[in-house]
């Protein structure tokens, strides 16, 4: 299969994409290139590398062979042209926006996002001069209304964290296309196993690798994937890509690198100058995780559906928000965008309110009470008493973190054990 005439399947790509045996040692597992720097072949070679005239390695803040395998792996799984690994999911968002926006520019974002992203956009990004304009994924026309001449991008999550919201990617992508701006999709909760945003018109995908791609709760990491679909030069609105770059003696990145120019721009202008490089050791752990991604995501989704069905029949439970449940508000969108399953994460409303939430997280024995999702282990958090404690009650409800809400990330344990733990947690005195 040296040639790509036959397009390999997802399981094959999850194991092999990007990872040929090491050219010098023959090592079959991807080596951890734990080095800051790489010797040049000669002076000419060094000049070619610094001038972007040759492909190769200089310094791990700009690129590293272990990280490169991870980049190609995720790009192949998403069906994109190139990837760029960075230190965290949040770093991926900073690097993408820095490549697209200038101070004074705007972007439109779904208001149903991971709370950390809402914070990043509302506060940190404002100090860069990037203005977020919020839109409502339950009212697609609100995206169109939010567009102004200053809009440079639209940002959504495929499956939103935590509420089980599924965004109509195709509908939003039509609005992005009409406005002439790229659509960025955070595909963290779905992973490419459950959802392929490029098939529905996304131009850029970002990931928190920390979650399901790594999958074992051991490494923070982020990824940017270039879909190769956006014409950066057409409107001249993205100077990082369409203007001669003074950083590289006047190179125009889009004309030089074609359909992977965005990933290169994020690397040689964003990562190089902002600096959030991923450790090669983390890249290795995440790569090992990805080899079993298809198996894990299917089990996560199957377990989560069983748990959601069980919870929805419990007397202690007021409601369950999980798009995979028949009758859920987002079930029709889930059937279209995530037909193999709806992922691991759900929110649950407890009839007993705040006290019932505190009691449940205190009494569980198998679930871990912590602020993460996407681990092999089942995880639980009561946002009102932890991550969202500082907000007013009204703000908590608005953020989907009312006093009665508990978020679960269902792990890979036996589903009978997961359910038994919830049962004893709900009924404990």
């Amino acid at each position: 299969m040296a040639d790509a005439e036959r397009i390999p399947g997802f399981n094959t790509l999850a194991i092999h994409a990007g990872a040929k045996p090491d050219p010098t040692t023959g090592a079959r597992a991807t080596p951890i290139y734990q080095t800051t720097s790489f010797v040049f072949d000669d002076v000419d070679h060094a000049a070619s590398l610094f001038g972007l005239q040759a492909f190769g390695n200089i310094y791990t803040r700009i690129g590293n062979p272990t990280n490169a395998v991870l980049e190609e792996r995720v790009a192949a799984l998403e069906g994109g042209t190139a990837g760029l690994a960075v230190a965290s999911g949040h770093a991926a968002q900073v690097v993408v926006m820095q490549t697209l926006l200038m101070p004074g520019d705007e972007f439109v974002a779904s208001k149903k996002l991971y709370g950390g992203s809402i914070n990043q956009f509302n506060h940190a990004f404002k100090s860069f001069g990037w203005q977020v304009v919020w839109a409502d994924p339950d009212d697609i026309s609100s995206f169109e209304k939010a567009i102004t001449p200053k809009t440079k991008a639209i940002f959504i999550e495929s499956i939103a964290n935590p509420g089980g919201v599924i965004t109509d990617i195709e509908a939003v992508s039509k609005i992005a296309r009409k406005a002439g701006v790229p659509l960025i999709v955070d595909n963290t909760l779905a992973t490419p196993y459950l959802c392929k945003p490029f098939n529905y018109g996304a131009d850029i995908i970002v990931h928190s690798l920390t979650k399901f791609l790594g999958g074992h709760g051991n490494s923070i990491g982020g990824m940017i994937v270039d879909g190769g679909t956006f014409n950066w030069s057409r409107e001249g609105r993205y100077p990082m890509l369409s203007e001669p770059r003074p950083e590289y003696s006047g190179i125009v990145l889009h004309e030089t690198f074609g359909n992977f120019a965005f990933a290169i721009a994020c690397r040689v202008l964003g990562l190089r100058d902002l600096g959030p490089a991923l450790s090669p050791f983390n890249a290795f752990l995440i790569l090992t995780g990805i080899e079993t991604l298809p198996l894990r995501m299917q089990r996560h989704s199957d377990n989560a559906l069983a748990v959601a069905e069980w919870l929805s029949k419990r007397p202690e439970v007021a409601w369950v928000s999980y798009a995979g449940l028949p009758g859920d508000k987002y079930n029709a969108l889930a059937k279209k965008y995530t037909p193999k399953g709806s992922g691991a994460v759900m929110t649950v409303g407890l009839k007993g309110g705040y006290d019932a939430g505190v009691k449940l997280v205190s009494n569980v024995q198998l679930f871990s009470h912590l602020a993460n999702i996407g681990d092999t282990r089942s995880l639980i958090i009561h946002p009102a008493s932890t991550t969202h404690k500082q907000l007013s009650d009204a703000q908590k409800v608005q953020a989907g973190a009312g006093p009665d809400v508990v978020r679960l990330s269902i792990g890979l344990e036996d589903k009978e054990d997961i359910i038994a733990d919830l049962e004893q947690g709900l009924t404990a005195k």
């Binding site: 299969m1 040639d3 790509a4 005239q53 040759a54």
Partner: protein, 179 residues
């Protein structure tokens, strides 16, 4: 040949057989894509011949520049065209008039002229359009994977070092040229 998607074996076959490449429309400026591609292919052991009427008689990267394809005093295996699509036809006609004819006409990334391609194919010449030989070489040798690019290749065989250093990869057994 399906002009929308070339099999990797087709591209690999071309890059493994041609030795002399004339690049029509090369820029003498070291920040232009044509200069990048020229330099890269030169470093991979191809005999590169620059063609640009405005630069005729001068040198680019030590190689003498010719005004037209007909001026090149030796046979050319491949003509790599760095001109906008609407200017491709005359270049292809010029290439077809060469004796011997080149084996390959290659139009750069973003360049496509189906009429010119049909003419060349009718003369028994292989055509590639809308691709960059530097990117294709980098992709098929795995070198481009260092930049996180999706090479769309899988293999359980190790990539071949080109020689003359650690950071230059080759195309395998058929590529024994010295850099």
């Amino acid at each position: 040949m399906n002009r929308d998607g070339y099999p990797d074996s087709y591209i690999r076959g071309i890059l493994n057989t041609v030795k002399t490449i004339a690049m029509v429309g090369i820029s003498p400026k070291d920040n232009r894509p044509s200069y990048f591609a020229f330099k890269y292919l030169l470093e991979r052991g191809y005999h590169m011949v620059p063609v640009n009427p405005g630069q005729a008689g001068k040198e680019i990267l030590g190689q003498k520049v010719y005004a037209t394809l007909a001026d090149i005093p030796e046979p050319v295996d491949m003509v790599d065209i760095f001109r906008a699509s609407q200017f491709v036809m005359p270049v292809v006609q010029e290439a077809l008039a060469l004796k011997p004819k080149p084996q390959v006409i290659w139009m750069q990334l973003g360049i496509r002229n189906d009429e010119a391609a049909a003419l060349a194919e009718a003369a028994g010449i292989k055509v590639v359009m809308d691709r960059c030989p530097k990117i294709e070489y980098g992709r098929l040798s795995s070198e481009i994977s260092w930049m996180g690019i999706n090479s769309r290749t899988l293999s359980s065989k190790r990539a071949q070092n080109f020689g003359g250093g650690f950071q230059r990869m080759g195309l395998g057994i058929n590529n024994k040229r010295e850099p």
